[in-house]
């Protein structure tokens, strides 16, 4: 109930910018129509609703759909344990939204990570450098159109990357019955890839 109250107060303040709260197993999500307002919305959530802890910021690549990006903010009120999730869409052409660094200082590294992995820029961020990969790495590896095996790169005296061999892959868990030997990742010949059969059983067939 607490979560829903917070979401309704947010909606009362910002009106049509905020969607009707969606509740799922006690977790409340609202969508923000204009990503450009995220700093104001978050500022209100912190100062008036008491969401003093930014748990995480994550980003989703809806590859092939428009708008391509969704950025998700997870907020928590440490005084009464209320939780709120704010989602906002960003188009591929823009690929930019305002930083919430002025609201929570911890947003600094979260936003750097999203920039590093997805290539979304945060306007007003004072130090938008890569955080996991190195400066000069030319790709954004968590985008859906980036291959898992990677691409060859070389930044002299810093780091290189090569294409990872993927023979026998993809190494994915098979759902359904069977013991862990049958279910867990291993080399599978696609035409024999029946779920729930171990290599021994396959050999017998």
């Amino acid at each position: 109930m607490l979560n829903l109250d917070s979401a309704n107060q947010l909606k009362a303040r910002f009106g049509d910018l905020i969607s009707d709260p969606v509740q799922f197993r006690g977790e409340v999500t609202v969508e923000l129509a204009d990503a450009g307002q995220i700093a104001e919305v978050c500022g209100f959530a912190k100062s008036k609703l008491g969401f003093n802890y930014l748990v995480d910021i994550s980003s989703i690549d809806n590859y092939g759909a428009d708008p391509r990006w969704t950025v998700v903010y997870e907020l928590r009120n440490l005084a009464n344990n209320a939780e709120l999730r704010i989602k906002t869409d960003v188009s591929e052409e823009k690929s930019e939204l305002p930083t919430v660094l002025g609201v929570w200082a911890t947003a600094n590294w979260h936003e750097r990570e999203i920039y590093d992995m997805m290539g979304l820029r945060f306007a007003g961020h004072p130090d938008l450098r890569r955080i996991l990969m190195w400066e000069g790495y030319p790709y954004f590896p968590l985008r859906k159109d980036f291959p898992l095996a990677g691409k060859p790169t070389n930044v002299p005296d810093v780091a290189f990357t090569r294409i990872t061999p993927m023979e026998g892959g993809p190494f994915v868990t098979v759902p359904g019955g069977g013991d862990s030997i049958a279910r867990e990742p291993r080399v599978r010949v696609p035409e024999n890839a029946e779920p729930g059969l171990s290599d021994k059983q396959l050999a017998k067939k």
Binding site: L132, M133, W134, P141, F146, P147, L148, A149, G150, K151, D157, V158, A159, F160, T161, R162, T164, P165, M166, G169, F171
Partner: protein, 177 residues
């Protein structure tokens, strides 16, 4: 009556002469004082600490002196996942180690990239530095690390030292002066 007990200390050893070759003696010194460079990069590093602690006690083999300076170490133990970001530093630290030097690739990740078939992980540290012994396991048991160390020691024990030095001296011309 002669009461001196020889338990614990044999006074006859001192003063005796042991005959050997200088090469063999040097190899014996060398193989029993392999100082590791602990390159702990991931969870294998924790298991490497267990090797150094009292239960498994790597000092039984003369390798308890973990050196965190490459200048003072003989054997780099690459323990863990080598990412591309770290690869340059591993190579640089290896290059800073004085000859002779050896490398143990500890665990699946250091040997082959392990389960990380990904854009971010070097697929085996032997892509950048020469590896003498690979240890399987994820992570390997501490006994496996000791086994790898013994294999390194056996290798060191058979390596000629003086003849190698002569070759180096001839190549660099330092013996003429």
């Amino acid at each position: 009556m002669h009461t001196q007990s020889e338990i614990g200390y044999n006074s006859k050893i001192e003063g005796d002469v042991v005959i050997t070759r200088i090469d063999a003696a040097l190899a014996w010194f060398r193989k029993n004082s392999v100082w590791p460079m602990p390159m702990g990069l991931a969870c294998c590093g924790i298991e490497l600490m267990a090797v150094g602690a009292s239960r498994f006690d790597i000092s039984r083999f003369g390798s308890e002196v973990m050196r965190f300076s490459p200048r003072q170490s003989d054997c780099m133990i690459v323990a863990g996942t080598v990412t591309y970001k770290m690869a340059g530093f591993v190579k640089r630290i290896y290059d800073q180690m004085p000859e002779p030097k050896w490398v143990i690739a500890m665990g699946a990740c250091a040997s082959t990239g392990g389960m990380y078939r990904s854009y971010a992980v070097l697929q085996g540290v032997d892509n950048i530095i020469p590896v003498d012994v690979y240890i399987s396991g994820c992570p390997p048991r501490p006994e496996a690390v000791l086994d790898a160390l013994i294999k390194i020691q056996n290798q060191i024990g058979t390596e000629p030292i003086l003849s190698k030095m002569n070759v180096v001296a001839q190549l660099t011309g330092s013996s003429k002066s």
